[in-house]
């Protein structure tokens, strides 16, 4: 917050004064104007409040003491959802206002006001929809100043009903009265609606025939009968079925062609969550927060959840009902529903009704659809608690478009366009990074379109035009290609792991230099190889590579990533020679002819680029242990191997396997030798997995210690998707802190490629500053 600035006071002590307040930040659509109105009433002040494109603009006039107390309270106790980024106060001569008024919105050229994120239904509205006396009884689109859709319905700023997809629903007299009544809970709540004037819900069968009767009763009956429903929600469609019916879940998996990837569930309330999962206080706080994300929780094995929800995993992604529609659906006979994103595998979340028929027609049996347009597609956010820290797997609904503060200053608006998978992009403006919602995979035309239109919408909402673009060095990333097509003055290609590191530094408010430990899948390196186990040093503008895991050929390139056993064979042949060949025959003999072909592809390097990703090392070990030879979703083998470890306190006492340093390279040859010896002895695979994890941490600690000694750097940034492994993260943090180093990690953006854009933007900003100013 900026201290009081402004012209010299012109009021005599104790007399009447007029203050002008300019409030910036998340101050629109969060009940700020009614709050100001109430506050002005409280202190008997005159003047007005209005939204403008900068934020909220207030003039108050009255006794000096009252005006000051007004300012203090405004600063210290703003509405629950408001976030004041900047408060400017100027003192003006009194104007002689006779009342306090709320001015209607007006637009101004620079759009600094922010659209707030979507907010989960508040307790007041929740109470109303179950109160038969209330006019919002059972109305699935009930909302108020403290809750409801925001980002997902906004077309333009300033945030006003006319500029949202609520524009097509003229308010009825009752709603209008509440909307205009400064003392009402719905005063200036833009999406305010009731059964008489607001959006309507309708249940259809797969042929598009409307289903007669009460939609709730119908849905419950269908879900109980094992049917799959497409449900239009806040930021897109969900596919829903009874989570406690293994056959329904299996059917959904089959139709969605998604054999293993975990499905998120929605639980009726916290009690239900507790019945099925372990729930810590921090996890409960996240679950019930206004953002209402999916929280990844440990399942209670004895609770009898169908294995089909998350095959091979001990965890489950759980969320609570966050719209009145969800709440109404869940307040029935079924306490737990699968609520997975409504899309075809690999395609963007479905948000429009017509597209839903087309895309989900052969997945869903019924469609629960409403007639309010979703303007901005927004997937559910996914968070987890690691030790004492909430971390993002995906930062989207409920958080976007709230900015992240970063240590960059004045200059042009910078776009970080993100990676190829889990894509998000970010707009960096004067020390604030606005990360987009989850865009996802870009390898389809639909995915690429999603990026383009979301980028257009986002830049329009912020009223900016990026002049500088940071993009990934990989020549074939669609995001990089798009970056080259976009109009911009300056473009900077940013190495993938440098971007990861910069992203971590940026969200921690640090420019560097620091040490970076980037454990990742595969990213394009400056030597044309695929990196991903990197010990770097650097800052926003440059980096240096000190150590990395030794390279192995990836047989068939991307094809190998879908078949971890082929990567295992590559490790065996590359590091253990003849002995490795024998082991691969012994372990993967069932692959017969395929095996000898893979061996040849590896030894002759036919379409076998060199790679050193930590994710690939996990793949190899997972395959060796028989955890998984083939995967059906990204990171599956590594995730399943990661879940096999012993609890940290017990696990960390096991010795790591040996490894060797050779120049810049860390050789895993000794690791594989001893791991295979353990395997041969029939050692418990949980112990092998744990020792393997300990080895990765030991590699990191040894390499970091060397770099810290030679450079004198004391901060270490941990980034890259592998850091989402809770055991690895906790142990590495502990052992690096034991070296006396300050460990920086991700809390505001994902450690995976969902956070890449932030680093790209930070690097591009710094390079622009150094090279173009």
């Amino acid at each position: 917050m900026v201290p009081v600035a402004g012209r010299a006071a012109s009021a005599e002590k104790g007399g009447r004064v007029r203050y002008r307040l300019t409030v910036k930040g998340t101050v629109q659509g969060v009940g700020f104007r009614p709050f100001v109105y109430h506050l002005a009433m409280k202190y008997g002040l005159k003047g007005f409040v209005r939204n403008d494109a900068q934020g909220v603009y207030v003039e108050v006039e009255g006794g000096e003491e009252e005006v000051k107390r007004f300012c203090k309270e405004l600063r210290q106790h703003p509405p629950r959802l408001a976030r004041i980024a900047e408060l400017l106060v100027e003192v003006l001569p009194p104007a002689g206002y006779s009342a306090f008024e709320i001015d209607s919105s007006r637009a101004a050229p620079e759009k600094e006001a922010l659209v707030p994120p979507d907010v989960a239904i508040c307790p007041d509205c929740a109470r109303e929809i179950f109160d038969p006396e209330n006019r919002h009884y059972l109305y699935p689109f009930t909302n108020c100043t403290n809750c409801g859709p925001r980002f997902t319905i906004v077309r333009e700023l300033p945030y006003d009903r006319a500029r949202t997809s609520m524009a097509s629903f003229p308010m009825c007299p009752d709603c209008s009265r509440e909307y205009h009544d400064p003392l009402d809970r719905r005063f200036h709540a833009q999406p305010v609606a009731c059964p008489r004037c607001g959006p309507q819900l309708e249940l259809y069968d797969a042929q598009g025939r409307s289903v007669e009767g009460d939609w709730r009763e119908n849905c419950w009956e269908l879900l109980r009968a094992g049917k799959i429903l497409a449900v239009k929600g806040l930021g897109g469609f969900h596919l829903a079925c009874n989570a406690l019916d293994p056959r329904a879940v299996a059917l959904l998996r089959q139709r969605k062609r998604r054999p293993h990837k975990p499905l998120a569930v929605m639980a009726r309330d916290v009690e239900v969550v507790r019945r099925f999962c372990e729930l810590g206080p921090l996890e409960e706080e996240l679950l019930t927060s206004p953002a209402a994300p999916i929280v990844v929780l440990k399942r209670r094995p004895e609770a009898g959840l169908p294995e089909e929800l998350a095959p091979g995993l001990k965890t489950l992604g759980v969320m609570l009902p966050y719209t009145p529609l969800h709440l109404l659906l869940l307040q029935g006979p079924l306490p737990l529903l699968v609520m997975t994103s409504g899309n075809r595998s690999g395609l963007p979340l479905c948000k429009d009704n017509e597209r839903a028929w087309e895309e989900l027609g052969d997945i869903a049996d019924y469609f629960l659809i409403h007639n309010r347009d979703i303007v901005n597609r927004c997937d559910d956010s996914v968070v987890a608690v690691m030790g004492d820290t909430p971390v993002f797997y995906r930062r989207s609904r409920g958080y976007v478009p709230q900015p992240v503060k970063v240590p960059t200053g004045e200059g042009p608006v910078v776009l970080g366009i993100g990676g190829e998978m889990k894509n998000t992009f970010c707009l960096l403006r004067r020390g604030e990074a606005f990360l987009s919602q989850h865009i996802g995979e870009l390898d389809t035309v639909e995915g690429e379109e999603n990026l383009k239109t979301s980028l257009e919408n986002f830049t329009r909402l912020l009223g900016v035009k990026p002049e500088v673009i940071g993009y990934d060095l990989h020549p074939d990333y669609r995001s990089s290609r798009l970056a080259r097509e976009l109009e911009a003055k300056y473009r900077f290609a940013v190495q993938h792991h440098h971007a990861h590191m910069a992203s971590c530094l940026a969200e921690n408010g640090v420019e560097g230099p620091a040490i970076g430990v980037i454990l990742d899948g595969t990213g394009y390196g400056t030597d044309g190889c695929l990196w991903g186990f990197e010990i770097l040093t650097g800052d926003f503008s440059r980096f240096e590579r000190h150590y990395h895991l030794a390279y192995v050929p990836l047989p068939g390139g991307e094809a190998a990533i879908k078949h971890p056993w082929r990567i295992a064979v590559s490790y065996l042949l590359t590091f253990l020679g003849e002995e490795g060949r024998e082991w691969s025959r012994r372990l993967f003999g069932a692959k017969e002819q395929e095996l000898s072909l893979v061996e040849k592809i590896i030894t002759q390097r036919i379409n076998a680029p060199l790679a050193c990703g930590c994710g690939r090392l996990f793949d190899a070990v997972a395959a060796l242990l028989g955890v998984r030879w083939e995967i059906s979703y990204e990171g599956q083998a590594a995730i399943e191997l990661g879940e096999m470890v012993l609890p940290l306190e017990k696990g960390k006492r096991l010795p790591p396997y040996p490894f060797a340093f050779g120049g810049e390279e860390i050789s895993p040859a000794p690791l594989f030798l001893e791991l295979l010896a353990d395997l041969a002895r029939g050692e418990d695979k949980r112990i092998i997995s744990t020792r393997f994890h300990n080895t990765v941490v030991a590699m990191v600690r040894e390499a970091v210690a060397r770099v810290a000694r030679s450079t004198g750097l004391t901060a270490v940034a941990l980034s890259g998707g592998t850091w989402q492994n809770p055991y690895l993260f906790a142990l590495a943090r502990e052992s690096l802190e034991a070296l006396g180093l300050k460990v920086l990690y991700h809390r505001q953006v994902p450690a995976n490629d969902g956070g890449l854009c932030l680093g790209q933007a930070a690097v591009a900003y710094k390079r622009w500053w150094e090279e173009c100013v």
Binding site: G556, E558, Q604
Partner: protein, 335 residues
């Protein structure tokens, strides 16, 4: 040096050259125009537009499952003529031979060319032979030029391609490219991969005779189906939409391509072509193709759309992928 290998002198125009021509080429290539051994062949041509095509064949190794460089040299040029709507008539052939090539190998190649010419109904009417020093090439390169006649009633070309037209292929994709790659790398796949090398003028003649709605044809050689489609899209300014699930790819090719991380839609064929056909005649064209031995796996694989010169592939998952020409082997984009 024994007499059963090619010597530099076989190419100097002297006695050895003469013997080679007499004992080998003339024995296998019976055409009158060639037998006359004049400096140029004088040919009678039927009415129509003259089509000429030329190609050099440098495949290494020269013998491969499903064919050899001789068969390929005939098919390649015959197919180029055939997809242009021409009836191929005459070929010329230039041989570049590596010193030390065994005469037996050369004879195998020549015999194979002769057999393929008979199958395709074309005649070799002129030829040339040169020998280069050992190591300058892999045994044998052949260059062929072909002429044919486009009958007056045949009108093929980009100008006829219109939105709604269907895209047909006559069989499985990627067989030649994978067979050669496997052979070169010593990868031996269960159930051997064979090149699909074959002259297409027969099946194309059947198609043209029965289906006037054929608007354009392309053979699917280097770069495979996608590259040919992209060339058409660029030339017409229209989009070509391919349906992944409709495109024939044998299980063997699919498995091998998956291991190697290659996409069969980019792999070379030597006996496959695509035809763009008016929608109302697509089913008929399919039936005609399927009646021919080289079209048993024929399929309708997509259609032409109004657009901007792009090729799209609708995947089995229902997504759409933009297909570009390849520039080198793709690097993994999975992080």
């Amino acid at each position: 040096m024994a007499q059963d290998v090619i010597l530099l002198a076989h190419g100097d125009g002297g006695a050895l050259t003469y013997r080679l021509v007499k004992d080998l080429f003339l024995r296998y290539f019976p055409g009158q125009a060639l037998q006359a051994l004049t400096d140029a062949a004088a040919l009678d041509l039927p009415a129509g537009r003259l089509a000429v095509s030329t190609d050099a064949f440098v495949v290494s190794p020269p013998f491969f499952p499903g064919g050899d460089i001789g068969k390929l040299a005939v098919c390649g040029t015959v197919n180029d003529l055939a997809v242009s709507g021409a009836r191929p008539l005459y070929l010329t052939a230039s041989f570049l031979l590596e010193e030390g090539l065994s005469l037996a190998d050369l004879e195998r190649v020549v015999a194979s060319m002769a057999a393929t010419c008979r199958e395709a109904g074309v005649e070799i009417v002129a030829g040339d032979t040169k020998v280069v020093e050992r190591g300058k090439l892999d045994r044998i390169f052949i260059s062929t030029t072909g002429v044919g006649i486009i009958p007056p009633e045949v009108d093929l070309g980009y100008h006829r391609v219109a939105p709604g037209d269907r895209i047909l292929v006559n069989g499985g994709m990627g067989e030649h490219g994978l067979a050669i790659l496997a052979l070169r790398s010593g990868l031996d796949f269960a159930g051997q991969l064979k090149s699909d090398c074959a002259p297409l003028n027969g099946i194309i003649a059947d198609l043209l005779a029965a289906v006037p709605g054929v608007k354009l044809m392309r053979d699917l050689t280097r770069g495979g189906l996608v590259t040919a489609a992209k060339e058409i899209a660029l030339a017409t300014g229209k989009d070509l939409l391919l349906e992944e699930e409709a495109i024939p790819v044998s299980g063997l090719v699919r498995g091998a391509a998956d291991l190697l991380g290659l996409d069969p839609l980019y792999l070379a064929n030597e006996g496959k072509f695509m035809a763009i056909v008016a929608p109302e005649e697509a089913e008929k064209a399919l039936a005609v193709l399927r009646q021919h031995p080289l079209g048993k796996e024929a399929a309708i694989v997509g259609e032409v759309r109004e657009g901007k010169g792009n090729v799209y592939l609708r995947t089995a998952f229902g997504g759409t992928k933009l297909m570009d020409m390849l520039a080198g082997a793709p690097l993994p984009r999975i992080c």
